[in-house]
């Protein structure tokens, strides 16, 4: 098993190289970082040239990629922008843990990401917990009561929710629980940010502000996962070994949660493991609508200003997470299903 994990990790290295190369080249088409540097004023062309040289953007893309990857402390950089590279470079490159400085605010990329990651993780892990709890409850229950009134209603609702766009759901919940509740004099939910500036960042404030974004993030996944769990459970409950378990006189919970669910868990683990890494990237739409200072908004802000170092940092983090979660899923398979063995 250890050998298998090591081999998988080694295999991931060339994969991550290719991913980073493709992403870096694609980023060159995402906009001009210099165009927005002057704020509202148009940047003069002389300044543009100077800035390009100072930031090293005048170099060929492949050289820029090389500097990003391996640093430029072995080359000379043109820090004053006079066209002569005389200062030794200071970047150490991604391979040595240096993701560079943001082109927008000159802060280290790692710091920029670290400022936002906890906010996103808080929101996303809460949402994921909600998703799993409700999807399992709904999925298992409606599988056990197939074609009952509850099952029919829930199947219809999940179908509706699954096909509803996120922004629409967000706006509807805002309209009901914020706008109208306020109008009716009921306690209403906040729609923007993590806390009231006047109340300060207390846990209660943050929790209160999380209600709507969490609900918005969860509803589509709950709908999708519960349908998936329902069909996996239905399949497992129809198997011969469930009949055997019943013939042994086992109580129903043991049949459902051990004999059937352990078999149904395999396909469920697959989709969850594939979805989890993308939680790190935040939810662009949801964070935007609810003004949540997370990774999704960070990504959107920086990608629109052509900030290659920050965008690359976020994307590579997600790429590494995908590789790791895939590996975790494969290890979970072997643990759940003894027929799967890795060598």
């Amino acid at each position: 098993m250890t050998r298998y994990i090591l081999r998988r990790l080694l295999q991931a290295i060339p994969l991550l190289f290719v991913i980073s190369l493709v992403l870096f080249f694609l980023m060159q088409n995402m906009g001009d970082p210099i165009a927005t540097m002057g704020g509202r004023n148009v940047t003069r062309s002389a300044d543009r040239e100077r800035l390009k040289r100072q930031l090293g953007l005048d170099k060929p893309i492949i050289v820029q990629y090389l500097y990003w990857l391996a640093g430029n402390d072995w080359a000379k950089a043109d820090l004053d922008g006079d066209g002569i590279a005389e200062t030794p470079g200071t970047r150490r490159g991604v391979l040595r843990g240096d993701f560079g400085l943001s082109l927008v605010n000159k802060k280290p990329v790692t710091q920029v990401i670290w400022e936002r990651l906890p906010n996103t993780l808080l929101l996303m892990l809460t949402a994921e917990a909600m998703i799993l709890i409700f999807a399992l409850l709904i999925g298992i229950y409606s599988a056990l009561k197939q074609y009952s009134t509850f099952d029919n209603i829930i199947t219809t609702i999940t179908f509706l929710f699954y096909s509803m766009p996120v922004f629409f759901f967000a706006l509807v919940t805002m309209y009901i629980f914020a706008v109208n509740f306020k109008k009716w004099g009921l306690p209403y939910l906040p729609t923007v940010g993590m806390f009231e500036p006047t109340a300060g960042k207390t846990p209660l404030q943050v929790a209160w502000h999380m209600v709507l974004p969490t609900a918005t993030l969860s509803f589509g996944f709950i709908a999708g996962y519960s349908r998936y769990i329902r069909s996996a459970m239905l399949e497992a409950m129809g198997q011969d070994y469930v009949r055997t378990a019943k013939a042994k006189g086992l109580p129903k919970p043991e049949i459902v949660y051990i004999h059937a669910l352990k078999n149904a868990a395999l396909p469920i683990v697959t989709i969850i493991a594939l979805d989890l890494p993308f939680l790190l990237g935040g939810a662009i739409v949801t964070e935007r609508i609810f003004g949540w200072p997370g990774m999704g908004r960070l990504f959107l802000d920086h990608v629109s200003r052509g900030d290659t170092p920050v965008v690359m940092g976020i994307l590579m983090m997600i790429a590494v997470a995908v590789v790791i979660f895939q590996l975790i899923a494969d290890i979970l398979y072997a643990w759940l299903d003894p027929r799967i063995r890795y060598t």
């Binding site: 070994y241 042994k248 086992l250 109580p251 352990k262 078999n263 003894p338």
Partner: protein
């Protein structure tokens, strides 16, 4: 005459399935009795209702689409069909145990053999983990699994087909049930393994004084195993007799045809086996008249009009037919 006590008494069982195409009349009034330590065989072709009959008794028919329309199944005087699900849980696996046809799918692939065998011990006998483990080893030894101490930690895919069926047997026998229902337990196995399993069941039956209901479509298997044979067709019992009587003196045309279709070592090799013409009845329509009439070589008017009752034709021998095959003429 049978002087042993009746342990299972099935009265006029009717089971139907409501599916999209209509209603399947799977079991249409089956009555049978089973005595203590007795082995009976239920014989019939696929879809004749033999499995559904016993699954109904065990309460293992999925409802819906299944429905037990009427009937009683008295086990030691208690009607199993009237019991609640919770009450049945105490009987299933403890008093009545069942072994299924396909040991490849009937065992849970993600739980160890040991765990699956210990489950009835834990649930019915309240054994603690250590005692149950010890008992599992004994049980596996009893059914002839070598090195049970280590093999109990194996998963079903590490067992061969025959070993899985042995493990299924160990599981069924765990709580020393009074009745063992074996639903074609040897059909999925090759012939040598089949013989071993039959031998094993016979040995364990004699050792534990257990009543056995052996469901099969293979009349050849029945001979060395059962005391009485019940032949089913289209959800009805068509003939019931002791094994010897059934082979020597079959009275129902269907039984005659089944026996004629059986290869026999004492017959001439160049003789062709006789197959039964026609196809098994469509159970989507309630049979009108004798269900075997369309395929019967002795058929006459009355057969198509009225369903014959199960009539005594000899001592301890009953057949459901209007025609007297011995004298070659219809009954009066």
């Amino acid at each position: 005459m049978n002087r042993r006590q009746v342990i299972l008494d099935l009265k006029d069982l009717r089971t139907r399935f409501h599916i999209a195409e209509g209603t399947v009349y799977a079991v249409n009034g089956v009555s049978l009795t089973l005595h203590e330590c007795e082995t009976i065989a239920i014989v019939g072709e696929s879809g004749c209702g033999k499995s559904v009959t016993m699954l109904s008794v065990m309460g293992l028919i999925p409802v819906p689409p299944g429905e037990i329309v009427s009937g009683q199944a008295f086990y030691r005087g208690r009607d199993l069909l009237a019991l609640s699900e919770a009450e049945m849980e105490h009987i299933r696996g403890k008093e009545l145990a069942m072994v299924f046809q396909d040991p490849m799918t009937a065992l849970n692939p993600v739980l160890t053999i040991g765990r699956q065998i210990s489950e009835p011990l834990r649930v019915h006998l309240n054994m603690d983990h250590a005692t149950a483990q010890q008992r599992v080893i004994e049980l596996l030894e009893q059914v002839g699994i070598p090195d049970p101490k280590n093999r109990m930690n194996d998963y079903p895919h590490q067992f061969s087909g025959g070993m899985r069926q042995r493990a299924m047997l160990a599981m069924a026998l765990a709580c020393a049930p009074s009745v063992l229902i074996a639903d074609e337990p040897t059909t999925a196995l090759d012939v040598t393994i089949q013989a071993q399993i039959i031998e094993l069941v016979t040995r364990l039956r004699d050792a534990l004084c257990m009543a056995v209901i052996w469901i099969t479509h293979d009349l050849g298997v029945v001979a060395g195993l059962a005391e009485r044979v019940i032949v089913m067709y289209a959800g009805l019992v068509v003939e019931e007799a002791s094994v010897d009587e059934l082979y020597d003196d079959p009275r129902h045309p269907y039984t005659l045809a089944l026996l004629a279709a059986l290869p026999r070592i004492d017959r001439r090799r160049d003789r062709r086996l006789k197959s039964i013409p026609g196809a098994p009845p469509n159970l989507l329509v309630m049979p009108h008249g004798c269900p075997f009439a369309p395929r019967c070589e002795f058929v006459f008017d009355r057969c198509r009009a009225e369903t014959p009752p199960l009539l005594p034709v000899a001592i301890e021998h009953r057949a459901r037919c209007w025609y007297d095959v011995v004298n070659g003429k219809p009954f009066e």
